[in-house]
Symmetry: C2
C-alpha cells in the first residue's frame, strides 16, 4: 500500500488526509508466480496497481499462441479497461511473471477519488491519454518496423524489464518467435552492440 500512496501523492496530488478516506476502499493481494488475477471470459472488475513484482496481460490466438499485450512492473497499472468499463467478458489473461503484490482498485475507489480530488481527475485523464499514445506507438512499430527495430525499441523503452522477463515473453510481446529473437540478438551482438 505504501508505494501506491507514495505514487498518488507524487503524481496525483493526493494528501495524507485524502488517502485516509480512500484507504478503506483498497485491498492488497499477493499473486505467486504463474497464478492468474484475470482469466479470459471473466468480467474485469478492478484495475491493478503493482506494488512489487511483475505481471503480464496476454491473449491467445487461433493457433493457440500467447500474444503479450502489456507488462506491468512496480508503479504501473494494469487492467482490461474495456472489460471493466463496458462490463464485458475479457479477451485477456493477466498472470504473474514474478511473485507480485498488487493493490486492487475498484469502481468505488475511482468515483470517490474523482470526487474528492480534482487533481486526481486530471491525472487520470493524463494516464488514459498516455496509454493511447503508447498503444499508437506500438501499432506504428508493428506495422512499419522489422523485428530488430522493434527489439531495439523494447530494450530502450523497458531496459529494466529486459533483464527480468524471459526472452520468449519478450518475443511474444514483439510478435515474433523466441528463435527469431535469439537470432536478432546474435546479429546485434555481432554488430558490436554487446550486452543488453
Amino acid at each position: 500500500m505504501e508505494n501506491f500512496f507514495k505514487y498518488l501523492s507524487e503524481n496525483a496530488g493526493i494528501t495524507p488526509g485524502q488517502f485516509n478516506i480512500l484507504k478503506p476502499l483498497l485491498q492488497v493481494k499477493n499473486i505467486v508466480k504463474g497464478k492468474y488475477i484475470l482469466t479470459k471470459g471473466e468480467v474485469c472488475s478492478h484495475s491493478f496497481f503493482v506494488e512489487k513484482g511483475l505481471l503480464r496481460m496476454y491473449s491467445i490466438n487461433k493457433e493457440g499462441k500467447e500474444n503479450i499485450i502489456q507488462f506491468a512492473s512496480e508503479n504501473w497499472f494494469i487492467s482490461d479497461r474495456s472489460s471493466a468499463f463496458f462490463h464485458e467478458p475479457s479477451q485477456y489473461n493477466i498472470d504473474a511473471v514474478e511473485d507480485t503484490a498488487v493493490v486492487l482498485i475498484d469502481a468505488k475507489f475511482m468515483t470517490t477519488a474523482l470526487e474528492i480530488s480534482p487533481e486526481f481527475r486530471s491525472y487520470n485523464e493524463n494516464l488514459l491519454q498516455n496509454h493511447i499514445r503508447h498503444l499508437q506507438g506500438r501499432i506504428t512499430l508493428l506495422i512499419g518496423a522489422s523485428a530488430e527495430e522493434r527489439y531495439m525499441n523494447f530494450i530502450k523503452l523497458y531496459s529494466d524489464l529486459t533483464l527480468r522477463v524471459p526472452q520468449w515473453m519478450i518475443a511474444s510481446y514483439l510478435g515474433i518467435t523466441p528463435e527469431s529473437l535469439s537470432r536478432v540478438r546474435k546479429e546485434l551482438a555481432k554488430q558490436h552492440f554487446k550486452g543488453y
Copy 2:
C-alpha cells in the same frame, strides 16, 4: 454542422439550448482530396469531426513508407490526441482521401461542453475507452494474425470503407504491401468468398 449536432444529441445528450452555447466555438472547414489538416512537426490543436468525406492519419517509417494509423469517415473523430493533449509536435499526418468537411473542435469547446453537460463528460470518457479497446484489438491482430485474417477483420469492421478506400491504403493500414493484399484477395475469391 448539422451532423455534428445530430451526433451530439443522440450520443451525448446535448440539447438544442446547449448546442446554441457551443455553436460559436465551432468552425467548419473543407479539405479537398489530397490536402492536409495536420502535418508532421505541427502541434495538433484540434480534434476533427468528419461531417462528410474521409480522412486518414498516417506516419512515415524509416524507409519512407506510409503507415496508416486510422481512417475517419462520417461521424467519426480523428486527431493526434497525444500531440493535442501534451502539446507536442505530431508524429503524424492527416489528409483527405475524399473531399471532406470537418468540424474543428478545440480545447475551449471541450472545457465548455464538459462544464455544461455531465452527460458529455461520460460520453467523452466512453469514447476514450472505446479508442483504447480498438487500439488493443488492432495490436492483437498485428501480433498474432496473418495478412489474410487481418484483411478479413478489416472488411468485417469497416465494410463501408472497403469500397471507398483505395486498396493500397488498406494494405498500408494492415501493414502489408499492395501486391500482397492483391494476392490475399485473389486467394479469398478462389475460396468462394466472392465479392468484397
